[in-house]
């Protein structure tokens, strides 16, 4: 258990525990997938069907092409637009801010203040800003627009991006940047031609977390959008009615939403831990 050699009993025990945990962790995802492949009628029976008898893609076809709730392709695109814009803007502006704060050109007091400000913002429970932000957006006539939600998502990902990227920038060798300066780069050229290309692993991790956040975010999306800029999580929540639960449709949409995240994040498994810790624990 401490990176030292183990007895066979311990190994077997570990295998058993790991297997149980994997089953507990994975079973709900399995259930999500098979429920989406069942007719709703098969979801209401007891005992539950662990292996669907009648497999159908009806739920997928329904939500994609025949939904009464409106055109799902549109909401899918909304989610895509908002998520990609959020990732792009928060990576660009966040890493710019992080670069500025990781250098010593501004006074240490000022940089400390900025970092504390960013940290405090990371801590804000989103509901505390969501309501006044909604009122302000409605004054600017930005409710139910892509821009309104993007601004809010970017602002939410910025603190995270800034903290994570500062860590990456500080770990870059100082001499490379000096060399770039001597080679004639100004601040911007040094940032875009040297620092950014060298920080791609860091940017990838931050992008994944930005994706995870913006793609799955529900509270702000539900408050700030109603129809034009509605995203997938809001659509799913909308399936819930008091009378009837459309398990098939809800889970099918759930699967469609989850797959891109799993695919996208499987590219950077190892680096994700860095993101989980908000850059605070050095590996």
């Amino acid at each position: 258990m401490f990176g030292l050699t183990k007895s066979t009993v311990e190994k077997v025990l570990l295998y058993i525990i790991c297997t149980i945990v994997i089953i507990v962790v994975v079973f709900p995802l399995y259930w999500l997938i098979i429920t989406s492949l069942k007719y709703d009628i098969d979801s209401y029976i007891y005992p539950p069907q662990f292996f669907p008898v009648n497999i159908t893609f009806k739920n997928y076809i329904d939500i994609l092409f025949l939904a009464q709730e409106g055109n799902l392709v549109k909401y899918f695109l909304n989610s895509l637009i908002i998520t990609t814009s959020t990732i792009f803007l928060s990576l660009l502006f966040g890493s710019m801010a992080a670069y500025s704060l990781s250098k010593h050109y501004l006074s240490i007091m000022f940089r400390r203040m900025m970092l504390a400000f960013v940290l405090v913002i990371r801590i804000f429970p989103p509901i505390t800003t969501a309501i006044p932000y909604y009122i302000i957006l409605s004054k600017f006539r930005l409710v139910d627009t892509h821009i309104g939600l993007i601004i809010s998502h970017v602002s939410f990902s910025l603190p995270f991006t800034i903290w994570l990227m500062i860590g990456f920038f500080q770990s870059l060798p100082a001499e490379i940047e000096k060399a770039a300066t001597i080679d004639g780069c100004n601040f911007w050229q040094r940032f875009i031609r040297i620092v950014i290309p060298l920080s791609l692993p860091g940017l990838a991790v931050t992008a994944i977390f930005g994706f995870l956040y913006s793609w799955n975010e529900f509270m702000l999306a539900s408050i700030l959008t109603s129809e034009n800029a509605k995203t997938l999580p809001v659509v799913i929540a909308g399936f819930i009615s008091d009378k009837y639960l459309f398990w098939g449709k809800m889970t099918a949409l759930g699967v469609l939403m989850t797959m891109p995240v799993i695919i996208f994040s499987s590219f950077a498994q190892r680096n994700i831990v860095k993101g989980l810790t908000f850059g605070a624990v050095k590996e």
Partner: protein, 292 residues
């Protein structure tokens, strides 16, 4: 020449600052002002009426709010406690470096990838009183079917289980990273000195993990206190107010009843509590100087 760099540094900070000012500072200032007014958006043409600290005072005899506060803290404390215990155990298992731990690491991420709204729906199905899988499983243990989300006493624990399930990887991976950063020489030296496994754990692993543990606690507290998405689709705060977390309470106050002044005061109250807790933890981290 440094002045040129200083100018660039400010320019680089500017876009982020504008975003944060527009999405945080401005709303919070607005909300701070509104917290001293009585203002309902439901009544057409109603003007805000200045009521001083009335909104804040009424928090203390607002039973619904206090109930939400209580639920939120119970939820946060219980969920984090179990996440910590199980997470630590899993982190130790992961550091064993067997073949299965590699597989384990890959699968552990899955719950984090699923959107909380989807998680809520999914578990709502699993918990279902008449055809839920969970009732099916416990029937093997001789336990009769439970109503779970329909029960005022079982709903909160049920939500806690879901929270533990989804966010367990955070603790497990942060602690695993912490364990990985402990030099193996230390363990070897302790073994040579004749320490048993348990003593190594108590006297070496755990103390050295402290910074990682504090960071993980900080992050989990931030996230559990703002719990919203899962309960929104799983219970919508019910039954009754059994799972009406603070975020949900304020959400309804502001956007269902449009009692903007009261919602603002409650938001600020909530924020200050959260800030006080977090500042305590951040100071803990900074004073140890082990994390940035």
């Amino acid at each position: 020449m440094l002045t040129g760099y200083r100018k660039w540094s400010i320019i680089f900070l500017l876009p982020s600052c504008l975003f944060l000012i527009f999405a945080y500072v401005y709303p919070m200032v607005y909300s701070f002002i509104m917290s001293f007014f009585s203002y309902s958006m439901l009544i057409p043409g109603a003007k805000p009426v200045f009521t001083g600290i009335n909104n804040y005072l009424s928090i203390f005899n607002n039973l619904a709010f206090l109930n939400s506060l209580r639920i939120t803290f119970i939820f946060s404390i219980v969920a984090i406690f179990f996440q910590f215990i199980i997470g630590l155990f899993l982190a130790l298992a992961m550091s064993a470096n067997l073949r299965i731990t590699g597989v384990f690491r890959v699968f552990m991420f899955i719950p984090l990838m699923i959107a909380p709204v989807v998680v809520g729906i999914l578990w709502r199905n699993l918990y279902h009183a008449s055809y839920g899988v969970i009732n099916f499983f416990i029937s093997f243990l001789g336990i009769p079917p439970q109503t779970w989300l329909g029960s005022a006493t079982q709903a909160l624990p049920a939500v806690i289980v879901v929270e533990i399930w989804q966010q367990l990887p955070v603790f497990a991976f942060i602690l695993a990273a912490g364990i990985a950063s402990i030099p193996t020489e230390l363990n070897k030296a302790a073994l040579v000195d004749g320490c048993g496994r348990m003593r190594i754990f108590w006297h070496i692993t755990l103390p050295l993990l402290k910074p990682a543990i504090i960071v993980a606690f900080l992050l989990r507290i931030i996230d559990t206190l703002r719990m919203f998405d899962i309960v929104y689709t799983m219970t919508q705060g019910g039954p009754g107010t059994a799972t009406k977390f603070l975020s949900l309470h304020i959400y309804e106050k502001g956007l269902r009843f449009f009692d903007i002044g009261a919602a603002a005061a409650q938001s600020w109250f909530f924020l200050i509590i959260v800030l006080l807790i977090e500042i305590y933890f951040i100071r803990l981290i900074l004073s140890r100087g082990t994390a940035r």
